[in-house]
Symmetry: C2
Amino acid sequence: AICAALLGEPAERPLQGMKVLISAGPTREPLDPVRYLTNRSSGKMGYALAEAARDMGASVILVSGPTQLPPPAQVDLVRVETAAEMYEAVIARAEASDIYIGAAAVADYTPAETQSEKIKKRGDTATLVLRKTRDILAEVAALEKRPFTVGFAAETVDLEAYALDKLARKNLDMIAANWVGQAEGGFDSDRNALEVFWKGGREALAMTGKKRLADRLTALIAERLQAGVVVR
Amino acid sequence: AICAALLGEPAERPLQGMKVLISAGPTREPLDPVRYLTNRSSGKMGYALAEAARDMGASVILVSGPTQLPPPAQVDLVRVETAAEMYEAVIARAEASDIYIGAAAVADYTPAETQSEKIKKRGDTATLVLRKTRDILAEVAALEKRPFTVGFAAETVDLEAYALDKLARKNLDMIAANWVGQAEGGFDSDRNALEVFWKGGREALAMTGKKRLADRLTALIAERLQAGVVVR
């Protein structure tokens, strides 16, 4: 199916017949019914990637944490709230997918205990014990029947070093890295720039609107996937 | 000014000439540039109260944490992010206000330290040390030249007991309490119901749209304020 899709279609629909799984948005890790721990993420990049993959001919499943974005047309939207729910939703669909793009800002730690009643204020200080969440990206990349696996890295320092380390350590096929906490791009912004790395190659995608950036990254994924299929 | 406003205006504009200060929405307490602790709050109730007070003739300042709501027309909107910023914005404007309605879901604990760089994952568990934030409502109620001070209580159990305790302990003029984690109302919902308490009185405002509920609560505030002015 991959070969037919890659070889039989015009260049404008390079993902025709492919199944693309994308995770997007933040997760919310509840301390109690009122309080939660979360990450800054608007979901805009992941939603733009879903639309780009759809427009390139793919059948797209978008697993999304809480966002304010409208559901993209002709995309199968699966809403989740916590990192554990996102893990379950992604892992259940990963082996049936040709490509997985992990664009969500998944909480890497979650409260060790969630209280069912609202916690009342006590002392001047409090200690919150957190436990690590499961690493969705690494577990998808470690599946026996793994999709082409693309991760993101949002960093405030040492972007390239962290991105290359994450690419190798999690055995990803590609990683798209961006600066956060800068004057422009990231988080709630409509614009962003990416440094994309894969084994033996890299490409810089210059600052632009997230929609156009998503088109370019998706085209690059299709190109690398095709190159990989030919080599294997 | 209070007497002129209360006595000289028709009933439809019972807050004519009054200055009303309202806080709304959640706060975000950053652990680092990416992660933060927050509370569930859409800001809808506070924004609806700002519109209701404006429509009853008041000059309104709305101090708002991050929400997805459009700024209400003819309201002075002050955007803040953290509990500390909300404290500063409210305290600076409280003594010049006739009424303060604390409708924000202010984080009561904040990370003891905020990292300027993104924290890297380490062990399987992590400990987060939190310190209590300043109590905006209690500090406004303790000001020498205090406004008529209205608090909110969102509870999952023992609603009346907690509300009455908060009313007395923080020396509020009124408290509006609502259940959270129920089938209907609270948080992101467009509807809610309130149990309103003051010294020597109470009134139940039945489940309805937040806009209508805000009109009723604001009318009740004007009524109690007028009763208080007569007595003093």
